[in-house]
Symmetry: C2
Subunit: 178 residues, 2 copies
DNA sequence: CCGCTGAATTCAATCACTGAACTCTTTGCT
DNA sequence: AGCAAAGAGTTCAGTGATTGAATTCAGCGG
C-alpha cells in the first residue's frame, strides 16, 4: 500500500517483503530498533528524517506486526516502539546487508561497528553465525561495539549513546545525557 | 546519488548499502539476476517496470560494480547484465529477505519457490546454509525449484521459463519459447 | 499562567516514478 | 531495394512521494 502499486512478480516472496520493508528509511528504522532506539524523538534525532515520513513508517511497521507500541508513561500518554518477534527475525537480513556494505563500501580505517557473539567475543560472519561456536546467534546474544572506523564524536546524542558497547535490543538509557 | 540526498547516519554501513541497493526495483533486479535473467527485455517482461527505471537501475548497478555488461552479439551490439563477484555476495541478504517474506507473508498453500543445496537436496535455512551438510552454500550450488504455492501458469515467458528446476546464476535459455 | 516536551499533522516545493510514445540500429522477409 | 520487427534504449507529461519548515495539541513543571 505505501508505494502506489504492488510490485508485479508477486509470486516472489522477496517482492512482498520489499513492499513492506523496502521503502526509503524503513530498514534504517528497523536497524535502529535493533540498536535499542525505541522513541519517536530518538529515531528523529538519529536518522534526521522528516517527521511525516517517520510517522508514516512507524505506522505501517506497526500495522504489519514488525513493531509494536508499548506505553511507557500514562499521564501524557507516550508509547515506545519495540520490535516484535516477527521484526526480530529480520536480523539475519539486516545483518547480511550491513556486512555487505562494510565489505564493499567500508572506510579504509576498518569497520564502523562490530557485532560479536556475547560471551565468546567472536565477530559474526555474514550469515550471522559465530565462527567459533558454529551456531547461529539471535540478536539477543549479539554485542555491538564501535569498530576502528567509527566516528568518535558524532553530533547527535543518540549516536553518542550508541558509542559504548551494548547488547542488541537493549533499550537506550533515558534520558540521553552527553 | 540515485536518491537525492545521502542517508544521514552514514556511519552505518547499512545506510550506504541501501543508498545503492535500497531503491524501488533494485533488489528485484538483483534477484532476477540470481535467477538467471540477463537481458534487458527479460527483466522488462518479468518485472513489468517502466523502461526508464530499468535503464537507470541497470546503469547504477553497473557503475557500482554489482552488475557488469557482457557483449553477447556484435552486429547489433547487445549486452547482457551479469552479476559480478560483489553482486553475487548479495545472495545471503537477498535470500534472508525472501525467506522472511515466505515465513510471514507466504501463501497458505506453501512456499512459492524452494532453494535447495544441489547434490544433497536439503532446503536452505534463513542464513543460507544447508542444515544437513552444515555448510554455507554459495549461489552457484543452489538449486531453485517451484514450491507448492507457485503459480502454475504465469502470464509472461520469463516466469514460465523459471518454472522448471534450475541452478542459480544459470542463464535463461534463449530464445524463450513456451 | 507561561513555556516546554514529545508526538505528531499540514503544506508548498521538489524529486522520483509511471506509462506511453518515440528513436535508432540491424536483421529477416519479400 | 523496401518494409516490418526486435532489442535497447530515451523523452516527456502526469502523478505520487519525499522534504523541510511551520503549526498543532496535550499535559507538565514552576
Amino acid at each position: 500500500m505505501p508505494l502506489g502499486k504492488d510490485y508485479a512478480a508477486q509470486s516472489c516472496s522477496l517482492a512482498r517483503t520489499l513492499e513492506l520493508v523496502g521503502e526509503r528509511w524503513t530498514l534504517l528504522i528497523v536497524r535502529d530498533a535493533f540498536y535499542g532506539v525505541r522513541r519517536y524523538n530518538d529515531f528523529l534525532v538519529h536518522l534526521a528524517l522528516p517527521r511525516a515520513v517517520l510517522s508514516a513508517r512507524l505506522r505501517t511497521l506497526t500495522e504489519n506486526g514488525v513493531l509494536e507500541t508499548v506505553r511507557y508513561q500514562a499521564s501524557p500518554p507516550r508509547d515506545e516502539y519495540q520490535l516484535t518477534a516477527k521484526g526480530r527475525e529480520l536480523w539475519p537480513a539486516v545483518h547480511a546487508l550491513a556486512v555487505w556494505g562494510e565489505q564493499h563500501h567500508g572506510s579504509e580505517k576498518g569497520s564502523r561497528r562490530d557485532f560479536l557473539h556475547a560471551g565468546c567475543g567472536t565477530r559474526l560472519d555474514q550469515a550471522g553465525r559465530c565462527p567459533a561456536c558454529e551456531t547461529g546467534v539471535p540478536p539477543e546474544d549479539v554485542e555491538m561495539r564501535p569498530g576502528p572506523g567509527a566516528d568518535r564524536a558524532p553530533a547527535d546524542a543518540v549516536s553518542r549513546a550508541l558509542l559504548r558497547p551494548r547488547m542488541l535490543l537493549e533499550p537506550l538509557p533515558q534520558p540521553l545525557n552527553a
